[in-house]
Amino acid sequence: MTAQVSETLIYHGKDLMMFSNPLDPYLRATGIHFVSPHTANWRGYRGTWEIKGSEETRQGLYLVKLKAHHSYEDVVGLAEIFPGFPDGVFAHWFSGEIRLPQGDLLEYVHGGYASQYEYDLFLEIKKGLIVSQRAVHNKARS
């Protein structure tokens, strides 16, 4: 197992690593499969996401960029998977927590998203909308 490349989330104007794959439920439901280009990307794609909307109304999770492999050479983007949605795809199919690690790397783990960082910001998402958030201060495992 190899540590996996993360997704990216643009949140409050910052590019953050995201250790969650909100596109996976959509791919399972639609039967779309991608091919892994290398061992650090078994899922076969990398997405850039953004939290959009105002706090007065609701804030939602949107997929704004995609680089997905049908084969090693055949790379497709958002326009091929979601034609007609250049401004972003609302992830209404996703409910769960997304993990945004931040700060210094405390422990590198050579597998999945298991590496530990100084802080984890968790966003609780329900049908694509943010319902709550919490932060966890991590300590190095001795």
Partner: protein, 196 residues
């Protein structure tokens, strides 16, 4: 030469003859499962080839089996039939698709119209398609087209609670919900509209 069917020894020989034929047929079937020359060569190269002792052991085992089948062939045939049935059942079980939805996660039976009316997407920016299930509308349509609305096929709403594990996936860190095709309480298909 005439056969005396009222003589018990004739019946005994006939019984053994059937047993011998059964044993030979099953020996023939067992030859089909023998490793190929390629596998034998590979095993020899790895130092796992058969020794003289192994060959003698095989001959002894086959001889004993032949005698046992000749004598107790009715019992052997019953055992062989049961084993074949068991193997077939296991194969069918392995071929069955696995679903996230298990019968205990079924909440209520619904109609397709009701499912579509309750699943309009609420997108803060209004970018999502204004159709039932939004971007999953195509997947929903495919699910319905394969559903088969004959008598006995039911559409059920299901929810898998957070922390459960099911199907091929590990423990879920959020609820999962969707619709399942149910026939006599058994799940035959599913459409997952919300998950993680």
């Amino acid at each position: 030469m005439s056969v005396y069917w009222n003589d018990w020894i004739t019946w005994f020989y006939a019984y053994l003859a059937v047993g011998l034929m059964t044993a030979l047929v099953f020996y023939g079937f067992s030859l089909k499962d023998r490793p190929t020359k390629f596998v034998k060569d590979m095993r020899s190269a790895l130092g796992l080839g058969k020794t003289l002792k192994d060959h003698l052991k095989d001959i002894l085992v086959y001889s004993i089996a032949m005698v046992v089948i000749c004598v107790g062939w009715p019992g052997f045939l019953v055992w062989a039939a049961l084993k074949k049935r068991e193997d077939r059942m296991r194969e069918l079980e392995e071929d069955e698709p696995t679903f996230i939805c298990r019968p205990e996660f079924l909440i209520r039976e619904v109609s397709p119209l009701e499912a579509e009316q309750t699943n309009q997407v609420h997108d803060p920016l209004g970018l999502a398609p204004k159709v039932p299930f939004g971007h999953l509308n195509g997947a929903w349509g495919k699910f319905l087209s394969e559903f088969g609305f004959e008598d006995g096929n039911e559409l059920w709403y299901f929810e898998v609670p957070k922390g459960e594990s099911s199907g091929e996936y590990d423990i879920f860190d959020g609820p999962i919900c969707g619709y399942a095709k149910v026939v006599k309480g058994k799940v035959y298909g599913e459409f997952v509209m919300e998950g993680n």
